[in-house]
């Protein structure tokens, strides 16, 4: 059985359960690269342009790890997921960046998923099938099977990505961990922030918990239409949780050099100021000093506790 490599980075965190079922259905074995570690990060930095953001460098490292272990590497070119919306420009050019930066690659499957111009994901998967000499009929069947249960994505997050002993408890502090899924769920990039929160008995909310209907409704309030699908997810989730008063605070994980985040952090922080929700922005980059993150996290949580304790206290000095 031929092997298809899936690098554990970027869109992996959004699509992996579907990709896995699709490729298994058409008779290919899937090989996922190891969890991000120091070697993968170092190789990624070595093999990519200096200006790229951290997640892009990391996916370069994952591809480098996979390149002599598999027959194909799957890096789809996801241009657009909704009409008149796009993904980040770096995701649009990701296959090109990888092909031009890493040498001796196996064949890269870089099928276009462009829902702005074409309808439905199915045609994209048919193109993947064509690449592997699978008939349209078979790949449609595999596609339908892979996407038959949408819930399996959230099950997968709970089982694989959230911390092992994490449990939702009604009386704990609720924090929304916001950011691109590849920043929130890659515990090497964010230095295990989910783990740290879970150990402190905090309930974790993420943008992925929400259905896309909610996201789209709550991200349509902006004066100018947001044209990034991933941006809408972040803004929509923030608006939903803030307006429904389901959370006590927001931690935004942004990566250094991310163009989307430079816009989104501004929008979310403004919204949380208006609704008086505590907000912290953590910028992630190549440096690996964990103490700084710990300190900031502790300070943020302390601040929230004091706020809760002192909110009904009115000083006699007023």
């Amino acid at each position: 059985m031929k092997k298809i490599g899936v690098p554990r980075g970027m869109l992996y965190y959004e699509n992996f359960p579907f990709w896995k079922d699709y490729f298994n259905e058409i008779g290919y074995e899937i090989v996922v690269s190891k969890k991000t570690n120091k070697d993968i990060l170092d190789n990624g930095i070595l093999n990519s342009v200096d200006e790229a953001c951290l997640p892009v460098k990391i996916i370069h490292g994952h591809v480098d790890y996979l390149k002599d272990k598999v027959d194909y590497i799957f890096v789809p070119r996801v241009v657009s997921l909704y009409k008149r919306e796009y993904c980040c420009p770096k995701i649009l050019g990701l296959p090109e960046m990888i092909k031009n930066s890493i040498e001796d690659l196996p064949e890269i499957i870089d099928t276009i998923f462009d829902l702005d111009k074409r309808s439905g994901l199915e045609s994209g998967y048919r193109d993947v099938g064509k690449y592997l000499n699978v008939s349209n009929k078979e790949s449609s069947k595999a596609y339908k099977k892979a996407y038959s249960q949408k819930e399996k994505y959230n099950d997968w997050i709970r089982a694989e990505l959230l911390p092992m002993n994490y449990k939702f408890r009604p009386n704990n502090i609720n924090i929304l961990v916001l950011g691109h899924s590849y920043n929130v769920f890659d515990d090497y990039i964010n230095m295990g922030i989910l783990d740290k929160l879970s150990k402190r008995n905090i309930n974790i909310y993420t943008a992925e918990d929400l259905s896309s209907e909610h996201i789209r409704k709550f991200s349509s309030y902006t004066k100018k239409r947001l044209f990034w699908t991933h941006g809408r997810r972040i803004v929509g989730a923030a608006n939903y949780y803030i307006m429904n008063k389901e959370i006590d605070g927001i931690i935004f994980l942004s990566s250094f050099g991310c163009g989307l985040d430079s816009v989104l952090t501004h929008m979310v922080s403004r919204q949380s100021t208006i609704y008086e929700v505590p907000f912290m922005n953590l910028t992630l980059d190549e440096q690996t000093g964990e103490a700084g993150i710990n300190t900031r996290l502790e300070a943020f949580l302390d601040m929230m506790k004091w706020r809760d304790k002192d909110k009904s206290y009115i000083s006699t000095f007023r």
Binding site: R84, P89, G93, D114, R225, G257, G259, D261, R270
Partner: protein
Amino acid sequence: MIPPPVCSRKTLEIGSKHSPEMMCLPFKVFIGNYIESIEKGADTIIITGSCGPCRFGLYSLIQEDILQDLGYDVDLIVIDSIKEGYKEFISNLKKITKTNTLPQLYKSSRLALDLIKRADDLTQKSNYTRAYAVDKNHVNQIMDNYLKTSVQIHGASELINLINKTKEELSNVKLLENYNPIKIGIIGEIYTIIEPFVNLDVERKLGQLGVLVDKSLTPTKWLEHHVINYPFGSEDENNKFKLAKPYLHTPIGGHGRETLGSAIHYKNLGYDGVIQILPLNCMPEIVAKSILKNVSKDLDFPIMTLVVDEMTGEAGFVTRLEAFVDLLSKRREKHLIG
């Protein structure tokens, strides 16, 4: 109309003070421009919009917030693509040009386009003249004079006169004979190519070294592609897409694809090398940069990348330009000797 004061260190400082830290350089300069113009009395700001995937399309959203927070009461008009709504597009244009009927609108737009074209031609001519001129400072003087006078005069006809006069002065500059200059194309992100303050006046610096400079994008080229020939696009730009196709066949936002196409375009024209200029953090240009590495290798064509940001240490910049030009002239000698 109040033209923003010429970009300066002060503009950039005001801009970076009030902008989100991770925003790209054009955004910060824009904010500086706005505030400086508002202080001179402007109450309406006009910018063009876009609808992705480059973050430029969302500039207005944040800039409005920032201006509001600073307590400025101004009207920010965004001219978006016709695709975003035909009615809004026309009403915005009418508001700006103060005309009511479509033919009038057409006439005043035509005039504006003509002026932009003339001004661009003049800049281009000055770049060519500077490369060949015996006394390069003379060309600089003529251009400085032109820029200084252009903000003092009023009306289109006076401006046309000034442009014609400057053109004539440029034609009278004494040129070197039998001189074959190094030719360099400037490619990259459109704003950093056009705005001399942001790119540290790269055209002039290269011209000073006797290099012939050509810019891949100018306001004229942009208008020809996006406005005059809408929705088909101008021939030049479409040709660039074709050239970029072996390396990249889908758009990546901004001018990423044009950057690649232009590099190959200049190679075909027999240029000695190209310089890519981008603001730090520019998403489309980063993708283009990683591909340019292979374009350079495949075509045996020198490409240098310069990243600009708020740090504007000029000396380092000049050293790199000089080194690049030296490299190109050595290369040429080698080719001649064989």
